[in-house]
């Protein structure tokens, strides 16, 4: 599995997923909980708008000086005996990891949650190499057990499953005999995973933010699994998107605070870990060998373009948690491991319009995403920019739509045409009108009236009324 998680067309996916009432109930409930928690956490912190601006500033500064910070990060990791590899493509990243794994004769690999490894299809590659790969984040673990069901959310990947479904997966795959109580399920997973930690050869993590000044990798979890993944195996590999850097621990603190509050409404998560290279002489723990794989995979192509601000993203999913479209169609409809508004912006940039050109249209441009983003990415504007690129630069819009919009442009801008059109509308619609309503409209109205009534155009337009009204001297 790489970034693209299915072959289906967007429309077909949507129709299929919208029938999944379990999923929709789970998503709606989670959205309401997470939204409320986020707002409460922001309120409790105070001056939220200032914090957002500060977060935006930090992210923009890093993106505008990315070469400098990548260099600083690399130098500091190498100084402490770590290895850094810069992968231009997913294949290069996978090839490097494969080499490291093979050189260590690694067979059992433990993973902490990482979206970028999903993006490059790392697990699949490792499994093809004959390795046993075990996800240790509870959500990812559930999905992996369930025949590699893809994540439907970037923070809570198994959001689309309810506890009964999770119990069924455990019963089938883990010989689980208890109930659907979350505590029992979590304890069972914990017992299973503990055994794995002790016998793993290699630990692989993602990276929330790398800290350039110290060459550290910052990880944020609630389960403490990232700590075990990096402490117990002898070799640690961290894979990160090339933009996920902060200059110093000072900015790390700001962004972690924005991330945990926006993602789950917590001041801090239970574990915030900063790992700095391999174990040095005299240190009690840490891996013997440390590798950082910095993944470009299309990101540098976004830098310097009108879409650069999407790289500010800190993967908190606040936009997903407020999206009214995601609410009904769920994450899998997007066909990408990056769903929701951030996914609809990022996926076509990384994966191209051939597979993902429907995504920017899966939005009403309601701007709930933009409003929620803790680093002020203008997501709805970026969705709109995609539409503009698809129409104007790529010329991929359907001919019928192009003609309609051309006609709109002419008609809306011209008084005689607008006047004639709006005046004639009532007469033209007459055959379809009953009780001032159109229930089954022709042409472009058909799609509207399949769902809703359409009002018959007024026989007397407002402007006609106003002319008469004005003649009467503005009286009643």
């Amino acid at each position: 599995m790489a970034m693209k998680i299915g072959e289906g067309k967007f429309k077909d996916n949507v129709n299929k997923n919208m029938e999944d009432t379990f999923m929709r109930g789970a998503v709606a409930g989670a959205q309401e909980r997470l939204r409320t928690r986020r707002l409460d956490a922001a309120e409790e912190l105070g001056n939220w708008e200032e914090w957002r601006s500060h977060g935006e500033e930090i992210r923009q500064h890093v993106l505008n000086n990315l070469d400098y910070y990548l260099h600083e990060l690399t130098e500091n990791i190498q100084k402490r005996g770590g290895h850094v590899f810069f992968a231009e493509t997913a294949d290069e990243a996978n090839a490097y990891v494969r080499e490291v794994v093979n050189s260590k004769n690694g067979k059992k690999i433990l993973k902490a949650k990482s979206m970028v490894t999903e993006e490059i299809g790392l697990n699949q590659m490792l499994e093809e190499e004959g390795c046993e790969v075990i996800e240790t984040d509870l959500g990812e673990y559930i999905l992996q057990l369930d025949e590699h069901d893809p994540p439907s959310h970037i923070v809570t990947p198994a959001l689309h499953k309810n506890k009964e479904q999770i119990r069924d997966v455990f019963t089938e795959k883990l010989d689980y005999k208890l109930t659907e109580k979350p505590e029992e399920l979590a304890l069972h997973a914990r017992e299973k995973l503990r055994q794995e930690f002790l016998t793993a050869d290699i630990g692989i993590t993602g990276c929330n933010f790398a800290i350039a000044e110290s060459g550290s990798v910052g990880l944020v979890t609630n389960e403490g699994n990232a700590g075990l993944v990096t402490d117990l195996p002898k070799t640690q590999i961290t894979v990160m998107g090339m933009e996920r850097i902060v200059p110093t621990f000072e900015e790390f603190e700001v962004l972690v605070g924005l991330l945990t509050r926006s993602a789950v409404g917590q001041k801090l998560t239970s574990y915030i870990t900063a790992l700095t290279g391999p174990r040095m002489d005299g240190e009690a723990d840490g891996p013997e060998e440390f590798h950082l794989v910095i993944v470009d995979n299309g990101r540098s192509g976004i830098l310097g373009t009108e879409f650069q601000s999407v790289l500010q993203c800190i993967r908190c999913a606040a936009c997903i948690n407020v999206c009214p479209v995601y609410r009904h169609i769920g994450g899998h409809s997007y066909n990408s491991i990056y769903p929701g508004p951030i996914g609809a912006v990022l996926t076509p940039l990384l994966g191209g319009y051939d597979d993902f050109k429907d995504l920017p249209y899966a939005s009403t441009l309601c701007a709930a995403c933009t409003d929620a983003c803790p680093v002020k990415i203008p997501l709805h504007e970026l969705l709109h920019k995609h539409r503009q690129v698809i129409v104007e630069r790529e010329g991929r819009a359907p001919i019928s739509e192009k003609l309609a919009m051309k006609a709109f442009g002419l008609g809306a801008a011209s008084n005689p045409m607008y006047a004639a059109g709006s005046k004639m509308a009532s007469a033209m619609m007459k055959p379809f009108t009953k009780n001032d309503r159109i229930s089954s409209g022709p042409g472009p109205l058909k799609a509207w009236t399949e769902i809703r009534e359409f009002p018959a155009p007024n026989k007397e337009r407002f402007r006609d009324w106003f002319k008469e009204h004005e003649k009467g001297g503005g009286g009643q």
Partner: protein
């Protein structure tokens, strides 16, 4: 306050489909002492094509609107979304030395109706009366992009006889989104259904909004499903006696 000269941007939806909303807007403003001017040259603000990605196709309509309202002292419109669009022009013509300053002027004098009544005319009670239970749908562009949240609530709370029930999940979009409503009709249907269900839960007689597009969407679905909720534009509520 009297003799405020107001130039009305009525929006194409109101002009063609909701003339009663336009009449109510005029009557409310006249009662508050405004002198209404309606330039007949006004067309559509260009938003349907613009939002669909047809920026170049919609620019002629935008220029037409900028020129048509150039003489105005203040522009008032009964739509949060269309007011937002007028304010968007300055960004669309950002690199155009001729049209950018003209667009900036238009943006600085454009107001949504309730914002104008409360913040400019400084009126919080327009003397309206309407008896029944009402709920309010805050439209997305009006609240998030234009930033007008409190003005409609202030005015509605002062309508005599109107009892208020908050709309559950009011912040969620109704599923209109211009061409989204037909392009992604299947998703739009689920969104508007949730909105209608929420309105029904409040047991309100009236669902009130301040944007014609959203009201056409929610109202059209309410009618199709045969629900006994009357959809009203806020101008009509404020004009009720």
């Amino acid at each position: 306050m009297s003799d405020v000269k107001v130039t009305l941007f009525i929006t194409c939806i109101v002009d063609m489909f909701q003339a009663d909303v336009g009449k109510a807007t005029v009557e409310v403003l006249e009662r508050l002492g405004c002198d209404i001017d309606f330039p007949m040259g006004q067309v559509c603000c260009g938003q349907p094509a613009y939002n669909s990605g047809y920026v170049e196709e919609s620019k002629d309509a935008m220029k037409k609107m900028i020129a048509t309202f150039e003489h105005a002292e203040v522009v008032v419109t009964p739509s949060g979304s269309c007011a937002t669009m007028f304010k968007e022009y300055q960004h669309i013509f950002h690199d155009d030395p001729i049209w950018r300053p003209r667009a900036e002027k238009l943006a600085s004098k454009t107001y949504e109706l309730t914002e104008f009544i409360v913040n400019v005319l400084k009126v919080e009670n327009v003397g309206a009366k309407l008896s029944g239970v009402a709920t309010y749908h805050p439209s997305c562009h009006m609240t998030r992009l234009l930033g007008v949240k409190d003005a409609p609530m202030t005015l509605l709370h002062n309508v005599e006889g109107l009892q208020f029930e908050p709309l559950p999940n009011a912040h969620n979009c109704c599923g209109f989104g211009g061409t989204f409503s037909v392009k992604m009709g299947n998703i739009s249907e689920q969104m508007v259904d949730e909105k209608v269900d929420s309105a029904e839960q409040t047991k309100a007689d009236f669902l009130i909004g301040a944007d014609g597009g959203c009201l056409m969407n929610i109202g059209g679905r309410i009618e199709r499903r045969g629900k006994p909720i009357r959809v009203m534009h806020i101008a009509e509520v404020l004009n009720s006696r």
